[in-house]
Amino acid sequence: MDLARTEVVEAAGTTRAAARGKGAALRGALLALPVVFFALFFAYPVAAIVARGLHVDGVWRLGQVGDVLGDSGIRHVLWFTTWQALASTALTLLVALPGAYVFARFDFRGKQILRAVVTVPFVLPTVVVGTAFLALVGRGGLLDEVWGVRLDTTVWAILLAHVFFNYAVVVRTVGGLWAQLDPRQEEAARVLGASRFAAWRQVTLPALAPAVAAAALMVFLFTFTSFGVVQILGGPTFATLEVEIYRQTSEIFDLGTAAVLTIVQFVAVGAVLAVHARTVRRRESALRLVAPETTARRPRGRGQWALLGGVLVSIAVLLVLPLAVLVQRSFATPGGAGLGYYKALTRDDSGIFLVAPIAAIGNSLQYAVAATGIAVVVGSLAAVALTRRDAGRIVRGFDALLMLPLGVSAVTVGFGFLIALDEPPLDLRSSWILVPLAQALVGVPFVVRTMLPVLRAVDARLREAAAVLGASPWRVWREVDLPIVRRALLVAAGFAFAVSLGEFGATVFIARPDNPTLPVAVARLLGRPGDLNYGQAMALSTILMVVCAVALLVLERLRTDRTGEF
């Protein structure tokens, strides 16, 4: 009897171990491609450039870290990077939180369109944002013409551009949750004797706090690593870490300093991401959520209408006006309104490019499509592996790792590509795939972030129901998961496309002179003197803006449900 029992126990024990082993093997297979992708095209180039900077003549020059950080110029850059990011974050919250409330709780005509309009800046390439603010507050810009005011030599241009860029982050993250908070919670507090304000403070604010923190961290991250905007609007006075890395790498050729700065940025971003991961986890705590349509109502009373009006005015001035001026400038030729700048784009006689600037559109689209494909495949595989119920600690760590490309210096990645991927078997220097690979790196975090919440929301027992009815694991994924995530997949692809289209920091290094992308072409045109180059930059930016806006509007139509975190 005892003998038989032991046998039984052992048999069962082995099958359980086998089942676990099988799960681990499957997860390993799913993760293999993302891991290889990140190792080859992220970790390796970044490590290579850091080593190139700090490992000189066969010796590790770690003392350089102290030297660089002791330099007063560098200290100034670090200080500016940090305070402008803090100031941008505070300013964005100040301007966008009322917007989040209005979008969450008020019903008004044109709300859907306005929501899309507000989101457009987020997917715009940084170069376009910089150009638009140059057209608004720069030399010969709208403010200059009307009042003789120029802000492009002040930090205000950068701060305003950052608000423009990140308004949607706050409205989406905070407003999205706010709209789903059950108003009856506040009503319950009111019935228990709380004043309107007390109810808001005691019930709504604590529920919103994690979302506000998450949004603030995102904004901080984006502004801390800001490159395109500062490159264009900062002039010689203001430089963020990323701009300084670019300057050290491509102008001064001081790779040692660039390497140290890359590490500094890496550490800072890692810390911010760690905090972010924690707030996100807390945000997933159980809140009573309801359908957003049920919580919004028409504004009542003078105060609410005034609030709505204020928000609309701030959107008009901060978000719509810069884009309108950009478009207007692209048509404002010396001989009056016309298509002169656009026509000039089709000629290649400027000497800046080997091809007509208009060719950049085709390049950009091709690169972006390829990058989207790579990002979707890599990101989906990672997201599926990360959703598996038996995902362990290491796998969850990989989740955070996937976010890193958002914060690691894109300039470093781009330059790292050039110096690391230049020998067989990985000699990609002359291959067109180099640009999409770099762009996909930035797209993957968006794909993962969009897919993960949706995949996690699929009830595990739904999969079990399919398995019991005879569906194999692959069939379960196809029949249960795929129909539910199909829409999220499209949204993820759209984001990856927009991000790839706008990628600047890495692309500026690796795009070949005869194959520029739109942002690279815009930056090069802006770097040249003369009205024609300026006008052409405006025209190209307008085209880029239209492409991104169209991509976004298609997304908004797809996204009838509220999928993903962005």
């Binding site: 069962a12 099958t15 009830d459 027992r461 399919a466 398995a467 009815l469 069939r475």
Partner: protein
């Protein structure tokens, strides 16, 4: 046809199933009854292959199922909250298992129509599952589970979320249906009414172990221990010292059935065995509360220094709260528990 031998599942160090041995015969309807957390659902998941065993075996028709994944076990499982596929219509849900088993399209259609007729939803194939009521969802889930003709059908709290009248009607329908189809059924529920109405045999579980197994009548009439008795809703349980035909309890002398062994025992007095007599003629009690139960009134009685007692009275005989009454015990309604 189904047997479990020493089936054990641990979550961490805590055993959720603890050496469960169980046999279900062909065409038998077995109902596992137990409070939440007693391991009922884990039992079903282990049989379905959704929960690996830490020890023991599951055999279906004599074949050890170790290593056979869920989709190859050919058992049906109806989930507690149905788990209908939200993106498919009713017909798509019912046909799912048939598609997985590569049944030709035209046969699928025939079978879906047949099943929907059988569960009382004729012509519902095109409806969206989100538009169904709870009872309709339950019927669709049943049709979906039956469609691939599983060798064993398992039901997890099949009627749990439905309202009472619907539940009582459906339980009768289910029993008729399974009888007609000859389906072998293993169901779990926490509702004794459901279990007794549905099952040929009831198994009571406690903390991952089987506490009692028997026909509904058997279990109802002779609960094996205090746990089963209390779980079935009997609260008149008391420690007793038996000598001869009489037991000494905190409620005084209580008659016990013939043949009861001497010594320390636990007694169950069914409410029907608590007779109300004039206050002077029995155990003196105050009426603490009374609850209308439809067919009778449950009267809570508080003796002077002993635990409360419940008595079942006919409506017109029920005393008012605060009344002083006496209690006498009826030997035929007294059960000796272990």
């Amino acid at each position: 046809m189904l047997s479990l031998e020493g089936a054990t599942v641990r979550f961490g160090a805590r055993p959720v199933l603890d050496g469960v041995g169980l046999d279900v015969a062909e065409h038998e309807i077995v109902c596992v009854l137990g409070p939440s957390g007693s391991g009922k659902s884990t039992l079903l998941r282990a049989v379905a292959g959704l929960q690996p065993l830490d020890a023991g075996r599951v055999l279906l028709d004599g074949r050890d199922l170790a290593g056979v994944p869920a989709h190859k076990r050919e058992v049906g499982l109806m989930f507690q909250d149905h788990q209908l596929f939200p993106q498919r219509d009713v017909g798509g849900n019912v046909a799912f298992g048939l598609r997985m088993h590569h049944v030709p399209r035209d046969q699928q259609d025939v079978r879906v129509r047949e099943l929907l007729d059988m569960v009382g939803l004729p012509g519902a194939a095109g409806r969206a599952v989100a538009a169904l009521s709870g009872g309709e969802q339950q019927r669709v889930a049943l049709a979906r589970a039956l469609a691939p003709r599983p060798r064993l059908l398992m039901l997890d709290e099949p009627l749990g979320q439905l309202d009472r009248s619907l539940r009582e009607r459906l339980v009768v329908e289910l029993r008729e249906l399974f009888g007609r189809l000859g389906t072998t059924v293993l169901a779990v529920t926490h509702d004794q009414g459901e279990a007794f109405a549905l099952a040929d045999r009831v198994i009571v579980m406690r903390d991952g172990r089987i506490a009692q197994s028997g026909t509904p009548l058997d279990v109802w009439q002779r609960p094996v221990d205090e746990f089963v008795a209390r779980f079935l809703g009997f609260d008149n349980v008391v420690g007793a010292t038996v000598s001869g035909q009489v037991a000494d309890t905190s409620w005084g002398k209580v008659p016990v059935p013939e043949g009861t062994g001497h010594g320390e025992r636990t007694l169950l007095v069914r409410p029907a065995g608590v007779r109300l007599v004039p206050a002077a003629d029995g155990l003196r009690c105050t009426v603490a509360a009374r609850t209308f139960r439809g067919t009778h009134v449950a009267v809570q009685l508080q003796p002077e220094d002993a635990p409360r007692l419940e008595a079942a009275c006919a409506l017109r005989d029920a005393p008012e709260p605060g009344d002083e009454v006496g209690v006498a015990f009826d030997a035929s309604e007294i059960v000796v528990l272990g």
